[in-house]
Symmetry: C2
């Protein structure tokens, strides 16, 4: 099965390009400070970014001393936009289906992936490829939508008669595709439990270094009161592992 | 703060003693097969069971070759019942507040805890004590209520107008005490995120070996159709770590 390429859907792409994280890059992504805290020193490292989008992280990594960065994405539109934004010879963008990747043996010292892995059907295969691609001692940091968010058959907030705002969970153990209407109709995301993701990593030989169920900080909620609901249930899952 | 000793509350104890897991022991606990799969070979091991209750696991461990087993519990009633059920000199039961434990240095080769740690306020302190008590290479296996279960201010199933059965989650990021009415009024459990629990373990030097968000198997649901709802959201969290 090829990875869904929703980012080349014109409606989706148009809506995606209007998001704060698309316009402002890393600083427009609320979870970036937490992800950044999980990064190793990037100086001199060979880095692969899986699902690089507009290449914000690739450029940031180069500005912070990375030796070279390979940005992979399935979306031609995203890669075209990424390419427009840099002339750095240390960054290579390449179109790739993350389900059918060949990164070689131990060619990288750090792997990064932001909000891409929940589109992947064969996560086990991709994680094995990342493990193979990393030199021993390297770190892999990624974010995905939290399984509490992806689990429900009909995802959404519920407002009870008592005014209590809740996130109703069902189908948590039923792993597999979920059809959502995020930015466009029929976006397919893959739900898997947190345990499944962590155990896949452990079985491949990764050591779990940090697991964060991301929510906005007090300071972020003070600046954006509408984000308060994101503390009712975790929005993103951030994971750091060591090869 | 001393650990809540709800098990010595007469109403709670009476109701607890009627549960299948109380009457039938390990085989009456639906998650036992999954926990059992995480155990190391117990032959010759020195074992501590934190929150041993009636001592079902302590006796099982001795039957499976453990050298000696220390069963700790805060409840006098539980320990009295446990003592009645064995005359094995290899088992010691001791009343202990798990928040104020002194287990010594590297005195044990395996630590076990079933559904006790969600009563503990100072989990960080207890985990540090367990780490200190285990010889290098030893395993620690425990179960707790899953944070999806403990998070909500008013925990319970919800039946929507469409007949959809969901578990409404809120307050996930608000760690701390939750008052529930499980078996008796005013039982206090401590909610903490899954990330918090795992990161505490990692920071102490434990390696995460397995994380299971337990739900009944197909065979269990076939035998007990009323358990099907437990697959809508994870009920227990089972964790195995390596010292």
């Amino acid at each position: 099965m090829a990875t869904q390429n929703i980012y080349d859907d014109p409606e989706f792409f148009e809506n995606y390009s209007r998001l704060e994280r698309s316009k402002e890059g890393l600083s427009g992504a609320a979870e970036w400070p937490s992800l950044q805290a999980l990064l190793p020193d990037l100086v001199g490292r060979r880095i692969v970014d899986l699902g690089c989008g507009y290449g914000w992280f690739c450029r940031w990594a180069r500005e912070h001393g990375a030796k070279r960065v390979l940005g992979l994405d399935v979306s031609e539109r995203m890669l075209a936009r990424a390419a427009e934004m840099t002339s750095d010879p240390g960054i290579t963008y390449r179109r790739a289906d993350l389900e059918r990747l060949d990164l070689g043996d131990q060619q990288f010292d750090f792997a990064y992936s932001s909000l891409a892995l929940h589109y992947i059907g064969n996560l086990s295969g991709l994680l094995a490829e990342i493990h193979r691609a990393l030199a021993p001692g390297s770190r892999f940091v990624f974010s995905v939508e939290h399984p509490i968010v992806t689990a429900p058959e009909k995802a959404g907030w519920s407002l009870g008669p008592d005014g209590r705002r809740t996130w109703p969970v069902d189908s948590y153990q039923k792993e597999g595709p979920r059809r959502t209407n995020w930015l466009a109709d029929g976006v397919i995301k893959q739900h898997r439990t947190l345990g499944t993701t962590l155990n896949l990593l452990i079985r491949l030989g990764f050591a779990i270094a940090h697991v964060e169920e991301w929510a906005p900080s007090d300071a972020q909620i003070a600046a954006r009161p509408e984000w308060a609901e994101e503390r009712e249930r975790p929005m993103f899952l951030l994971v750091a592992v060591q090869r």
